[in-house]
């Protein structure tokens, strides 16, 4: 492990912060160039991420690029970073989405900037938090970054958001806090148990996973109140709030609708993945028996999310809310896939995380394009925009197809793999979830039809400007990824294969004793 020790991961995490410090030193008169700085920071990180990608050894299932520095030795806490096949795609997703999102949400009118320095600073801080959460291999460090993500998001929604922004941002913050504080109690218990069992304190994932947590599966009550059951539920609650799983999803539509476009893009593309990543990294491998015991319940919630999210999206007249609910629906698949305890479906869940990240980022950007031009999000106000903005129509079409999981797009890869795997384990669940694909097509095509075609009711729509070069570039890169993953999934996810198969084998071995 120590042989390939390197500081590359630290560079990935702290590069945005370094640019943030640089930004603080710049005077206000360069205000209109602050976005450029953010873009440069994003590109720099992308370079680091590409280096990580090319040096990553796909044949190894354990953590690579490990960096370990004692931090609070008395409590066994260390600054421990590592990347494996599960976190690698998510880091890449973050690295790719960041410059795209900054390009795609570039303000049209640079004279109307509002507290630009603080905005860019928050965007940079958000990135540090996201990379940190994906790369931490120490549970304290994980929690540290997990919480740090909240603060920039809180300001992004609260300062630059819509009319109801304060309500939305408080709801977002408190919802997440409830979950994460209960998770913190569970973390304390795990560290205590490790110290009790092994004598020395440690907080690393690898060490904590070695503790045997008691589990009793005689009845529901006993399962819930056994040690492992409580730990599983505490962690899982924190993660599913972030995913979000129905019925803990109500913060999401508010946060998305009120957030500025850039905030929405990060929220949908990366922040939601923190939740599913947590499930995959902590909830399932550390408490496998409890996870297996509650798997039907979790899949049930997942399926409900798929169908409920789709129906809610169908009923929305607010375009942004529609996309937000579609996130609830798509994230439901990931829950189903993970808790089916099937090797194929677990892999599919990871694919779906990436694919949803790409397509939802694009969809929120489209909402942003339209809002920037027409200052409305109401579906009734749109119509026949395809005629005046054909490039936007094409971009939106590609994203819609990805969202409805058309074969040849990335959406198909994720959802099909999940459904295929789940069908082997739980055919009934897969059937209902499969219906979700149909509902998904209904609302997505409805949105497309209402926005791009339909009667021209609003005179403003005649003058909609088509995509700018920057926006076109952002859309183009997304389209490349959509079709690239759709046609050649192996070349994008190949590096995760070993990790995923070892991960699921170990997981399934632990719970299925036949």
């Amino acid at each position: 492990m120590t042989e390939n020790s390197s500081s590359l991961l630290s560079w990935i995490i702290f590069t945005p912060l370094l640019f943030g410090i640089l930004l603080l030193c710049l005077p206000k008169k360069f205000e209109q160039y602050f976005r450029h700085l953010a873009l440069v920071a994003g590109m720099a990180n992308l370079l680091f991420a590409i280096k990580l990608w090319s040096n990553f050894d796909g044949a190894i299932s354990t953590m690579q690029f490990v960096q370990s520095i004692p931090w609070i030795p008395k409590l066994g806490i260390s600054y421990l970073l590592g990347v494996d096949g599960i976190s690698l795609p998510l880091v890449m997703l973050t690295a790719i989405i960041t410059p795209i999102a900054i390009l795609g949400t570039w303000p049209h009118d640079l004279s109307k900037l509002k507290q630009e320095k603080f905005f860019v600073l928050m965007v940079l801080a958000l990135q540090t938090g996201m990379y940190g959460t994906f790369l931490a291999s120490d549970i304290f460090l994980f929690y540290f970054f997990w919480e740090i993500v909240l603060i920039p998001m809180f300001f992004l929604i609260g300062i630059w958001g819509g009319a109801e922004r304060i309500y939305a941002t408080i709801k977002f913050f408190l919802y997440t806090m409830v979950g994460s504080l209960l998770m913190l109690v569970a973390i304390w218990w795990m560290i205590y148990r490790y110290k009790q069992g092994f004598g020395v304190p440690s907080a690393s994932f690898a060490d904590l996973a070695r503790v045997q947590y008691n589990f009793v599966d005689e009845s529901w009550m006993k399962a819930i109140f056994s040690e492992q059951g409580l730990l599983f539920l505490a962690f899982t609650l924190a993660f599913v709030i972030k995913v979000p799983m129905v019925p803990f999803h109500t913060w999401l539509p508010d946060a998305h609708v009120q957030a500025p476009t850039l905030g929405s893009v990060f929220l949908a593309a990366v922040l939601l993945k923190l939740g599913t990543y947590g499930l995959m990294r902590i909830s399932m491998p550390m408490f496998p028996e409890a996870a297996y015991y509650f798997s039907m319940m979790m899949m049930g919630f997942g399926v409900i999310g798929v169908v409920y999210g789709a129906f809610c999206a169908w009923g929305q007249s607010d375009f942004k809310k529609l996309v937000a609910y579609s996130s609830v629906s798509h994230m439901g698949y990931i829950l189903v896939g993970l808790f089916s305890f099937n090797q194929v479906a677990i892999a599919g869940s990871l694919y779906q995380m990436i694919n949803h990240g790409i397509s939802s980022a694009g969809l929120f950007m489209v909402v942003g394009f339209l809002y920037e031009r027409l200052h409305t999000r109401n579906l009734d106000d749109f119509g026949n925009i395809a005629k005046v903005a054909p490039l936007m129509a094409i971009g939106f079409m590609i994203l819609t197809l990805s969202s409805v999981a058309l074969p040849g797009t990335n959406g198909f890869v994720g959802e099909f793999t999940i459904l295929f795997g789940t069908f082997q384990a739980q055919p009934a669940v897969a059937l209902i979830a499969g219906l979700g694909v149909i509902f998904g097509a209904i609302y997505a095509l409805k949105a497309y039809q209402r926005v791009m075609f339909g009667p021209l009711t609003n005179d403003h729509n005649k003058n909609v400007v088509d995509l700018s070069v920057r926006e076109f570039l952002a859309m183009g890169v997304l389209a490349i990824f959509i079709f690239g993953i759709g046609f050649f999934p192996g070349s994008f996810f190949g590096k995760s294969d070993t990790t995923l198969s070892v991960y699921s084998q170990q997981l399934i071995e632990k719970v299925i004793h036949e």
Partner: protein
């Protein structure tokens, strides 16, 4: 020659070693400083007596701080048969209260003129500090009472000193009367404990359980606890806190929330360690239940009432009650593992600096006269005073226990200790209640960053006093530094 011998026979002076001397010198210096500062402040010789008093006081406390710092490397000292015990822990804590006092003196600078404070405040602060050092060092119930009085009497006066504010005198009187009652409880309890065990020395008392103990002891212990619960502001004895925090001289409020709380809580910790959580004490469960209940009630009460406050100082007063609750919960972790006391200490120290920092900011903001700062008035503050708004945010996030700040580390250590002594249910209650606390801390941040200034009102203007600025900077440094690279 003969006379010299006879003198020693009449007054058998103990010969003090260097370590003993160096432990006592701060107390001597502080007492002299107090007297000189008061005289200097009252004298008409110099035109600006107040300024002179401040400089004398600052100098005296600084010298005393230096000596305390030097004394850190000396051996533990046991004076007067264990009445005063200076070891590295008590010296470190005494260093922290020294720092708090220096910061409090600095905060007063500038504010004193605006609020027409008397120069005596610079004499009273060293007196209170001397009382605190006593209290931190003593293991003796009677000395604890005396040092508590030395500290409190100075504080009562300082609370009532803000003469431009009509609630100030009321706050001082209220604090005085209720504080007197609490002290009486403490004294009476000590007497009963003495009756039951035959000693005031807690070390001796902790060993007397082996022989069996008379029921008188329980009553005495409850009285002692009551007195101390009052001083730290635990739930049924909290009623003075909001009024005193609001009415008091703001520069002193920060000092109270930091240093007084730290000292009183250390006394409480000592009582718990030596008189409750002793292996041979059989009735420990009853007292665990009492402390647990009070902790839970304090946490819930403090957090939920703070939710409804509109005035900044009052909100912070209720939030300090909630923090007392967390600390009481931490007391339960002493059961069986006395080393957990260090986590209570760390929490107190870290909280002290956030508290001093935030009150220094409020001092800079406050208007002369009747009204207090209402949270809504902070609207648009971020655009007008970005640095102060960010400082305030850091302190609030620290109090809310968000990572990157010392408050998170403090809470982490305290609750982790409580979890490892099986107090999971109470910890869950505490963290859920602290979600509530996040809400009211966020309210201030939201007002500063996300709301417009209220219409038809003059915006808050900050006085830029160097003393407050230094205090805020020092507090921020400690808050961030301990939040990222904690030294424990």
């Amino acid at each position: 020659m003969n006379s010299a011998i006879s003198l020693v026979e009449i007054f058998p002076l103990p010969s003090l070693s260097l370590a003993e001397m160096i432990s006592l010198w701060p107390l001597i210096i502080l007492s002299i400083t107090a007297v000189v500062a008061i005289v200097a402040g009252a004298s008409k010789v110099v035109a600006r007596g107040r300024m002179l008093a401040m400089i004398i006081s600052l100098f005296g406390v600084a010298v005393s701080t230096t000596i305390t710092y030097i004394s850190l490397s000396y051996d533990p000292v046991n004076l007067l048969n264990g009445t005063l015990f200076f070891d590295s822990t008590s010296r470190l804590l005494s260093l922290v209260v020294h720092l708090c006092t220096i910061l409090a003196i600095l905060v007063n600078f500038g504010y004193d003129e605006k609020e027409e404070l008397l120069a005596e405040v610079y004499g009273l602060l060293p007196i209170a500090l001397a009382g605190m050092i006593f209290m931190i060092a003593t293991n003796h119930l009677l000395f604890m009472f005396v040092s508590l009085e030395i500290m409190s009497l100075a504080i009562y006066v300082m609370v009532a000193m803000r003469r431009t504010f009509k609630f100030s005198a009321e706050a001082g009187l209220k604090y005085f009367i209720l504080g007197g009652l609490a002290s009486a409880f403490l004294l009476y309890g000590s007497a009963l404990v003495y009756g039951a065990t035959g000693s005031f020395n807690m070390e001796v008392i902790s060993q007397s359980f082996v022989r069996g103990i008379s029921p008188l002891f329980y009553v005495g212990l409850l009285f002692v606890l009551t007195g101390l619960f009052f001083k730290v502001g635990a739930f049924p004895f909290h009623s003075w806190i909001p009024d005193v925090y609001q009415g008091a001289t703001t520069s002193i409020t920060g000092f109270m929330g930091a240093a007084v709380k730290l000292t009183a809580f250390m006394a409480l910790t000592k009582v718990c360690l030596n008189m409750i959580f002793v292996p041979s004490f059989l009735e420990v469960d009853i007292f665990k239940f009492v402390i647990g209940t009070i902790a839970a009630a304090t946490i819930v009460y403090g957090n939920f009432v703070a939710l409804k406050q509109n005035e900044l100082k009052r909100m912070l007063a209720y939030s300090t009650i909630a923090h007392t609750g967390y600390l009481l919960l931490g007391l339960l972790s002493l059961n069986g593992t006395p080393t957990n006391a260090q986590f209570i200490m760390i929490y107190l120290v870290l909280y002290a600096f956030s508290n001093i920092g935030i009150f220094a900011l409020i001092v800079m903001l406050e208007r002369k006269g009747e009204r207090d700062i209402v949270i809504e008035e902070l609207g648009g503050f971020w655009l007008k005073h970005p640095l102060m708004a960010i400082s305030m945010t850091i302190f609030l996030l620290s109090m809310a226990g968000i990572p990157l700040t010392s408050g998170f580390i403090g809470k982490y250590l305290l609750f982790a200790a409580a979890v490892s002594s099986q107090q999971v249910a109470l910890v869950v209650l505490a963290v859920l209640a602290s979600v509530v606390s996040v809400y009211y801390y966020l309210r201030v941040i939201i007002a500063m960053f996300m709301k417009e200034a209220p219409k038809g009102q003059a915006m808050l203007t900050a006085s830029k006093w160097a003393g407050c600025g230094i205090t805020v900077l020092v507090s921020i440094f400690i808050t961030i530094q301990m939040g990222i690279f904690p030294i424990i």
